[in-house]
């Protein structure tokens, strides 16, 4: 039985030189590259001699010829000329660079056109050649995940890796991380790590480093710069501070939030100005940094997964919400305005707190505090046992609650830990910092 030519083509290794002659006489010649996930039926992708990729429909009667993959490109490898760099500053101790995957640690494969993770210290440092200007950088590959796949267990793994890095002499730690859930990981590390002897800097990229315009290059350089700062003993996020490549903001790990799906300045500190800025290779501080704690460097007990975050929206069925909350030890609500829900939710909330679950209130506005005293709803929620979380961001409050649940089985102790300042997650004084947003 004759085989379908498309099956024959699909069995060939990528990079193979093939000629497809369709029954109508149309002839295509090129190197086989992976088809796009959204390519049409019976379409294969060929890279033509010109460098263009084209989609070719393979008819059942098509004739296929294939030739072994050509020897590597005859084009000469050209050394990349780099502009002469300024004499390096006096070297400081090593910075540990932990990689976890995500946009910042990916590159395009020119053979297949796919984006793949960057592997190995040599490759990463070849990607970011200026990183070692201020001292050595040691690369540790921890994970290879998109940030949406980073789990609670990964937070713990990262915390232990940070601890290990400091113990082996790093002056600071940089964690390259996908941006989607960067704020969750930043919060988790803020709560899990105690007695930090230096900075932990999370950094990401909104544009992958295969693009000449990637923000990853300069974000990474700024992050390493911050990781070499003396007198910084907390978890921070360093990303672009505007659309130009000239300023980077240092955000406190518990106050930062991704506020745009694509802009390079997507990350913002909520409710106060950022902790500091990097410009012209120097760091300036705009807010008080947390002093070094007296405790020894350690990782606390892990967070407990029996907690959740629920966005309260008009029309949410109380039965459905009650079912969602039924087996939880803790629940953070993102309420409306000053921290409200529809009256019809009071019953199940009362039931939840009654059986010992910790229910906390935050606001969907992502700016300002919750306040239970202004409206009757707030007062009723308070009476129902809801804990009001000040201006803690919903995501930060969720991570903090999981952490608190992990530290104690006693709801009162969990509530106490949840409300106590641990990593600057609550701001008690709000000043006008310009426009809302």
């Amino acid at each position: 039985m004759a085989t379908d030519p498309i099956d024959e083509l699909r069995r060939l290794p990528m990079g193979e030189l093939v000629t497809v002659v369709n029954p109508d006489g149309r002839r295509w010649h090129g190197r086989l590259v992976p088809a796009h996930e959204l390519s049409g039926d019976r379409i294969i992708q060929l890279k033509l001699e010109s460098g263009y990729n084209v989609g070719v429909r393979v008819d059942p009667g098509a004739k296929i010829e294939h030739h072994p993959a050509p020897a590597s490109s005859t084009e000469k490898r050209l050394p990349v000329e780099r502009p002469p760099t300024a004499p390096s500053a006096p070297a400081s101790g090593p910075v540990a660079l932990l990689t976890t995957g995500g946009t910042i640690a990916s590159r395009v494969d020119y053979q297949t056109g796919g984006v793949r993770p960057v592997h190995g210290e040599r490759e990463i440092l070849s990607f970011f050649p200026e990183l070692e200007q201020g001292g050595p950088v040691r690369v540790v590959r921890v994970l290879d995940k998109l940030s949406e796949d980073v789990s609670r267990d990964d937070w713990v793994l990262l915390a232990h890796q940070v601890e290990a890095a400091f113990r082996s002499g790093a002056v600071g730690v940089v964690i390259a991380h996908g941006t989607d859930t960067l704020q969750f990981t930043a919060s988790a590390l803020s709560f899990l790590l105690e007695g930090l002897p230096g900075p932990v800097v999370l950094v990401g990229a909104q544009r992958s480093p295969d693009r000449p315009s990637s923000d990853g290059f300069t974000n990474m350089a700024a992050a390493v710069r911050v990781a070499r700062e003396p007198d910084l003993y907390e978890v921070v996020v360093v990303m672009h501070a505007g659309l130009s490549d000239d300023q980077w903001a240092v955000h406190r790990g518990t106050r930062v939030r991704k506020m745009h799906s694509s802009r390079r300045d997507a990350f913002a500190t909520r409710n106060e100005p950022p902790l500091g800025r990097v410009a012209n290779g120097a760091v300036s501080w705009e807010q008080a940094r947390r002093p070094r704690s007296g405790t020894l460097l350690a990782v606390t007990k892990p967070p407990d997964g029996r907690g959740a975050l629920l966005w309260m929206f008009p029309g949410l069925d109380p039965t459905r919400a009650a079912e969602f909350a039924r087996t939880l030890r803790g629940l953070v609500l993102a309420g409306t305005g000053l921290g409200h829900t529809a009256q019809e939710h009071l019953a199940w909330i009362r039931a939840a707190t009654g059986r010992g679950a910790v229910v906390a209130m935050t606001t969907q506005t992502l700016g300002g505090s919750v306040d239970p005293y202004v409206y009757a709803t707030g007062r009723e929620l308070l009476r129902a046992g809801v804990v009001f979380a000040g201006d803690m961001l919903p995501e930060t409050a969720y991570v903090k609650l999981l952490w608190a649940l992990g530290q104690s089985d006693d709801p009162a102790e969990v509530t106490r830990l949840f409300l106590a300042d641990r990593a600057g997650e609550m701001v008690n004084r709000h000043t006008d910092t310009g426009a809302v947003g």
Binding site: S73, E75, P83, R211, P212, D245, D246
Partner: protein, 623 residues
């Protein structure tokens, strides 16, 4: 010589990957500054052209425009490939008998000169293997692609280059011919014919800069050189000729260098700043903080200077490479002594650089040592290439018909898939729908125009080339005179657009053009008045009368013209009676001083002749 053409035409649709209008604007809403780097690393090839640009370490300043959005700023992923623009490209492909692809894949072409905020240009091959007939000969068209235009360069210095984002993302159709053109004149004819096909779709932008050509020239023993971004078709011929000659000369130079056993020593440039402290004039006059470095090329003496006044010079080629890193140029020993450097100093320089009399010296002045060495590295590389003949490269076209080195030729390594945009499958329904409304082919249009209108063949030629056939037919159907309409649309209007400074973004509405034609037919304005009236209309005049008035071109009626002619004849009565009709020229000059632009010259002459004949007849003189 073998040459190929790439024609780039902007489309009059929304931008290719966003919903921004494809309109240029002078408004600047904000500014961002960025840097770009050539990507690639240890085990991957970096495209030569990309590495070259990246090494310059430039800051790019982007002006945000009402015609730009976050996509143009590289702050938002691109949208889907604009279906309207794709339809225009498919239409053109079918008109050129090309094979349309089954599925169109968008690629990223690395370009780090700052003209694209992303560091790449998005481009998609749409069709292959077309052809076009010009002057009885068939030229193959290898590829038809759809791509985004680059940002508009506003100005540039040694450290920062400014671009405006209005033009970035405007759809371009790129049509590339096979390298089958053997003469400059052919290149122009092929470009014109392709332009006519593009315009026949009625969906292309018009005006200066909306169509640009790249000319690829190769010669026997030479190399492929791309002259990029030619905006004036009439210069294509000149560029081709100049490039052919440049390559021929470079090959001669290479032969001579080999005969002499010339070489470029591997060691880098040596600082000679201290030797030049007493230089007070010329490009190397001593400046505080500046450094001067010297290079020596074995056996190159006498070959850096032009052997004819306008011939290509190796010295100029080397200087172009020094300029490519932001230096003003260089001095070489073929032009020394001179330029502030005396015989004695030259001897000392030669000694310092270990140069024999047969060697050439090159001196480079720069504000810092790093830049001086960067320039020296480039210059040395170019000198080395001279031993082999012609280096392949990209060159910029200059308004005088010559070209200047711009950057290395990009290779295949700079293209990879645009993963943010899904492929577009071209189904039969789409091609059938477009086939059903395919514009008339230019050859058919020409035949029809010849059959339907009493126009001179050159006029017909101009008409279809201009892409104005549709408007022409409309105006003629409204009752306007074919010849007037054709002249207005193919000559007077394009000429007026050409006189506009800037980007030629203004236009005259069809209603105003109709009114202008009516005024011409009624004699309220003269043929001669059309250029100034068009200029005023482009400058914002609201009506033909308003435009004519601004230039003092209010028409002269037949009666008034008769009276004015009568007065001129009366004033020159003795002259007319003495010389008869031979006095016509003198009187015509006087009369035209009064009515120029306000009445057609032929009518003025006729009126004058009538009055002169009247006088002569009344006096019984022969006419």
């Amino acid at each position: 010589m073998k040459a190929g053409l790439e024609v780039h035409q902007q489309l009059a649709t929304a931008k290719l990957f966003c919903r921004c209008p494809s309109e240029l604007s002078e408004a600047v809403l904000g500014v961002v500054r960025r840097s770009l780097r050539a990507t690639g690393g240890e085990d991957h090839l970096v495209d030569a052209a990309a590495a070259f640009q990246s090494a310059r370490g430039l800051i790019f300043r982007y002006e945000i425009s009402p015609s730009s959005c976050l996509v143009d700023l590289d702050e938002e992923p691109p949208g889907l490939l604009n279906p309207e623009a794709l339809d225009v490209a498919l239409t053109v492909a079918m008109m050129l008998g090309a094979r349309v692809l089954d599925e169109v894949e968008v690629m990223r072409k690395i370009v780090v000169d700052g003209s694209n905020t992303s560091g790449f240009q998005r481009t998609a091959l749409v069709a292959v293997d077309g052809a076009i007939d010009v002057g009885g000969q068939r030229y193959r068209i290898d590829t038809i692609a759809l791509e985004e235009d680059a940002a508009r360069r506003i100005d540039g210095g040694a450290h920062e280059v400014s671009f405006r984002l209005d033009r970035l993302g405007v759809p371009l159709i790129e049509i590339a011919t096979a390298p089958e053109i053997t003469q400059g004149a052919e290149a122009r004819a092929v470009a014109e014919e392709i332009g006519a096909v593009l315009r026949s779709t009625g969906r292309v932008r018009r005006g200066i800069g909306t169509i640009r050509e790249d000319l690829n020239v190769s010669t026997d023993g030479g190399a492929r050189v791309e002259i990029k971004g030619v905006q004036q078709l009439r210069l294509l011929e000149k560029y081709a000729g100049v490039e052919e000659e440049r390559q021929r000369r470079l090959l001669e130079v290479a032969t001579e260098l080999r005969r002499r056993g010339a070489s470029v020593p591997p060691e880098g440039a040596r600082p000679v700043t201290d030797l030049l402290r007493e230089v007070v004039e010329g490009p190397l006059r001593f400046r505080d903080g500046w450094v001067v470095v010297g290079l020596r090329f074995r056996g190159f003496a006498g070959l850096l200077r032009a052997n004819t006044p306008d011939g290509p010079r190796l010295g100029r080629e080397l200087a172009d490479h020094a300029r490519s890193v932001g230096l003003g140029g260089l001095l070489h020993s073929d032009e020394l002594p001179g330029q502030g450097i005396g015989e004695q100093l030259l001897v000392r320089l030669r000694r310092e650089l270990d140069a024999e009399p047969a060697d050439a010296l090159v001196l480079l002045a720069a504000p810092d040592l790093a830049r001086a060495h960067a320039a020296a590295y480039r210059v040395q590389g170019r000198a080395r290439a001279a031993l082999d003949g012609v280096p392949p490269e990209t060159r910029d076209p200059l308004p005088d018909g010559t070209t200047r080195y711009s950057r290395p030729l990009p290779g295949r390594n700079r293209m990879y898939p645009e993963t943010d945009v899904p492929p577009t499958t071209i189904d039969a329904a789409r091609t059938e729908r477009l086939q059903g409304v395919l514009p008339e082919r230019p050859s058919a249009t020409r035949q029809r125009l010849a059959a339907d209108f009493a126009l001179r063949p050159e006029r017909i030629d101009q008409l279809w080339r201009s892409g104005e056939v549709a408007r022409f037919e409309q105006f003629v159907a409204d009752g306007r005179t074919a010849n007037n309409v054709a002249r207005l649309l193919t000559q007077e209007l394009p000429a007026a657009m050409g006189r506009l400074s800037g980007d030629g973004e203004r236009e005259v509405s069809d209603d105003l053009l109709r009114a202008l034609l009516v005024a011409l037919e009624r004699g309220t304005i003269a043929k001669e008045a059309i250029p100034p009236v068009l200029d005023e209309l482009l400058a914002g005049a609201t009506s033909v009368a308003d435009a004519a008035e601004r230039r003092g071109l209010v028409g002269v009626s037949g009666d008034e013209l008769g009276d004015m002619a009568g007065k001129v004849v009366a004033a020159n009565r003795e002259l007319v009676l003495a010389k008869g009709m031979a006095a016509f020229s003198a009187l015509m000059g006087d009369l035209m001083k009064e009515v120029r632009g306000r009445r057609d010259g032929k009518e003025v002459a006729a009126a004058l002749r009538t009055k002169m004949a009247g006088l002569l007849a009344s006096e019984g003189r022969p006419t």
